[in-house]
Amino acid sequence: MRKIITILAFKLAQYYGPLRYSNYSKLLQVLLYFLMVTTSLFTAALTRLLLVQNENYILAVVVLSISIILLLGIYLGVKGGVMSLQSEIDFILVSNVKPRNYLLADLIFQLILLNSILTPSLLVFILIISRTTITNLINTIAMFELTILAAVMLSHVIGLRKSLENDRKVNYVAAALAIVFLFPVFLMAVDAVEFVDYTPLPQVILAKNMMGRGVVFDNLAVVVFFLCLLVIYYKTVNHLSSLVVVTPLLKTALVEVGGVKIVKIPSLLSIRVDESVLISGIKLHVIRIIRDRSILMVSLVALIFLMANMAFSNLMGDSGFSDLAVVTSTILYTAFIPAVLSINWGLFERDNLWVFQVVRDGIRRYAVSLMGSYFIVALLFSFILYVIAYIISGGTPFLVLDSLLAAAIPVFSSLSSVFFSFKLPRPGNVFSVSTLLHILMPMIVSVIFAFPVLVVRTSATLASEPPIPLVILLMAYLIGTAYVVYRRVIGVVVSSV
């Protein structure tokens, strides 16, 4: 027991190290919690308002929240499951510590970590949306914690199985599980939300219990689910004779660089001797984005947003939330793309800045090409998503304004992502505070800068047939602001390193 506590204390000290030494980190942590709590309060209240008491929809949304937690567990598992920092890999995993003890410490560590991220966001959201009564509060929280426990256990089992047996086979199982957990989302996307109630899946049963709607059968089912999970967990851990085989999780970035296999780069992208420095720089960043698999993560994020938007618009169907809004909100989400890219940048590339710092004008050139590459990737995805959303929702009369938005969001989000990747503390790992800020801030900033377009877009009379002077004015605004922001970001970036 003492051993477990020692390992746990070491992990916590490592992970929360920056918080101990820097007031800036503390401030960021507080800011992040504030953002998370207010965002979830706001979203929950809004959703609740729009859903107009339909219990089926509310159940569906709670199920969705639980699915997200379980999916997170699967994702962590596929990436290795066990969270070991480099120092643990080098010194603890090779020592004679019992695998069982280490894994238990890691289990508790992950429970703490996930709680610190999910409680202020998802739990707050669930509590508001399900209008939990005081008597049911304990029940809701207990089910929430059980869900997190299930996610961590899943992550360990998948991660350990991956190092014990055939990698690919485990990946397939994980993918199948993910599909099972996403099934209710599929029901929502095809507008069959009333069937969610009848699907006997763990996440549905957990959600029912959470909302105090569970019958005896549901309680029993939760117990059985956890018993199964426990047995599998126990068997997996017992298989493990040494920790050396563990593939640690925190070492890797957002996307795993599986067996390092160099990805074929289209010859269009290979750099040439006679092209300008800027073009070469952009190409190299795009090449890196492809090779370090960030591009896969971006595609996944885009897909999830598209699905979530469609599910949401179906949910809102009765309340007058128009199909057309799907197009606009899908475009808004593309602000996430450069933000996601900047996380891998922070983990892999930030340390290389010395190369460019000692070259005259090196940092400026580097930063400009970084922005260029983010912009190109974001614009590509923004365009693809736009077309897909356009086709699905059967066309939009707001072609002009939505196209303006589809160009503006990538501009502002790539500018601000570069700004924040240089200014914020580097992401210590995928789950650190600054990682979340790296994602949130560019999103907020780009929406703020594109706000005038959004305002015009939401005004139905203006949006359907915008007068040409207004369009020109908006374009002038966007180009002017983009230029000013660009100059400012370059100035700050160059002087900050």
Binding site: I271, V273, L284, R288, F348, D351
Partner: protein, 263 residues
């Protein structure tokens, strides 16, 4: 393009004039006078002085934590000192101008490289931002083969061994034919062949009127390679001079400890 060429010529002309006009003074390729540096309010370097003359390979010695890396970072502009009387590289004030960067090659203590590029891609891009214009492709091929990287030139860097990475970092140092090189523990991880190559390149630089500043813990290498050395102890320069003087008949190791012991 023409503007750039003109500026280049003008700049070198100025350097030339400066060099002639100030005569002896510019013979000091690196000048650090009474520098102090701190991290978060804690002084790491208290009073460091270094002079590196033209045609000199200068060794920077000191125990772990003495302040060698900190000093070097200030020289290449990666850190700002709290206070310094004079900080010049190639006759140019480091704090007020960045033009000196065209003339230096720098190797950090822990060179981190872009994991997902190939050495060829990385060096090509670097050569471009370093304004290596003529025969760029040939230059890259030459550098790759010089550092024994021709076989791994098209693999991604993350796959390469520590020593190979160190060779890539060293290739970035010499890529643009710098006049002054500043190397923080360059021999770590290099095989004997690599070490010999670096020594050869260094002597080429000093033979053409350049200079080098090298921090190292390998006293025997320093003894053979460097004409002069500076020893830093607890953030202060405690001695500086030619190796012969400092040794004073003893081995460098004995001399080193007796100097540090007296400080």
């Amino acid at each position: 393009m023409i503007g750039e060429v003109l500026r280049f010529i003008l700049f070198h002309y100025c350097i030339f004039i400066q060099h002639r006009g100030m005569g002896g003074e510019f013979d000091n390729m690196i000048v650090v006078k009474n520098m102090s540096v701190s991290y978060n309010g804690v002084k790491a370097v208290k009073r460091v002085d270094i002079m590196v003359g033209r045609g000199e390979i200068h060794g920077l010695l000191g125990l772990n934590g003495a302040g060698k890396t900190t000093t070097i970072k200030c020289l290449v502009g990666l850190l700002k000192p709290d206070y310094v009387e004079e900080l010049k590289v190639f006759g140019i004030n480091v704090l007020s101008s960045i033009e000196y960067r065209d003339f230096i090659g720098y190797l950090p203590e822990y060179p981190s490289l872009p994991d997902y590029l190939t050495p060829r891609e990385f060096l090509t891009y670097l050569a471009k931002i370093r304004h290596v214009k003529t025969k760029l492709k040939e230059r890259i091929d030459y550098m790759l083969s010089l550092f024994g990287l021709d076989e791994v030139g098209d693999k991604i860097i993350v796959e390469l061994s520590k020593g190979l990475k160190q060779r890539i970092a060293l290739a970035t140092v010499f890529l643009h034919e710098p006049r002054i090189v500043i190397l923080d523990e360059p021999f770590i991880g290099l095989d004997p062949e690599g070490q010999m190559l670096v020594k050869r390149l260094l002597s080429e630089i000093i033979n053409s009127g350049g200079a080098a500043l090298i921090s190292s813990h390998m006293l025997d290498t320093v003894e053979r390679l460097c004409g002069k050395i500076t020893i830093i102890h607890k953030g202060r320069t405690i001695t500086s001079g030619s190796v012969k003087e400092l040794k004073n008949g003893k081995t460098l190791e004995e001399a080193f400890f007796s100097i540090i012991g007296h400080a």
